[in-house]
Point group: C2
DNA sequence: TATAAAATGACAACGGTTATCATTTTCAGG
DNA sequence: CCTGAAAATGATAACCGTTGTCATTTTATA
């Protein structure tokens, strides 16, 4: 994901910030992730290849990535936030199993349209939304 | 509101717990609320008529009310949780203005049906869901 | 009224995140 | 390449909403 790193560096330049080894290290590990990862977990993974990088820096980098539109913070009912890669056309919502923690991502344009309708009806302009369905996955409900 | 208190007392009896002045005081103020209120705010309001009641007890009572199905905790992107009255047929979702904080409640059965569809498609049995639309209210978007 | 169980209030502790600050690093200009 | 101003880092303390602890009080049952 060299292009992702390039996107980050472009954002950094645009904002007059600076490229650092730490930012690249954190971003690289983050972009290599598939699912949702907490700051603490990311910190641990980064530490393997780059010991010495502080948890604070991981938090700061995640915030930077979020501002740059490359990461998104999620909150699935737990106090600890998790992050995932963000991309204009990667928007999705989540199904969360409250028993085993399994998370399924889905996209449902027809629901999104209806959300727009509802918002319009109340005079709102929607900029973001959150939809989470909590329940039991197949494995957990048949056990 | 007397019936709400009665509901609470019924739940308390069923669980072998005890009716106390504090619980009644907190519940009364809570049930008299219209919108969403934080534990801290509720604590302040309760203090006016019943000084001496601790914040801890307010938290405990809110948890009790939630277990009894009479209150529901909400989180609108801020660290501080807020509570609102709960009722089987009072389910609704929220439109939140990110500028002025205005919150509009709405109910959209067709969306709820589609949520069920999506869940079924992935083998999930939904027990709860969260849908929040963030954006600008009419006042804020035309200013 | 005696008794066991539960609730209370004061306070400490928790956990995830952010602020502070001395030190180090980056990078534009010379 | 240097130099210097601006920004970033890491260690640590602080923050803040919430929950745990525990001695004391209150409730409800018999
Ligand atoms: Mn996701
Ligand atoms: Mn509501
Ligand atoms: Zn499951
Ligand atoms: Zn507004």
């Amino acid at each position: 994901m060299a292009n992702k790193i390039a996107d980050l560096n472009r954002y950094i330049a645009k904002k007059g910030l600076k490229v650092t080894r730490q930012r690249e290290a954190v971003a690289e590990v983050f972009f290599a992730e598939k699912g949702h990862i907490s700051a603490e977990e990311l910190y641990m993974k980064v530490a393997k290849s780059h010991p010495g990088i502080g948890l604070t820096t991981v938090y700061r980098t995640l915030k930077l990535l979020t501002e740059a539109g490359l990461a998104k913070e999620r909150r699935f009912g737990e106090p600890q936030g998790v992050y995932e890669k963000e991309d204009e056309d990667r928007h999705h919502d989540h199904l969360i199993c409250t028993r085993c923690g399994k998370i399924v991502e889905f996209k449902e344009p027809s629901i999104e349209e209806m959300q727009e309708d509802v918002a319009r009806r109340y005079g709102f302009v929607v900029t973001d939304h959150k939809m989470e369905l909590y329940g039991l996955c197949r494995t957990c409900s048949t056990a």
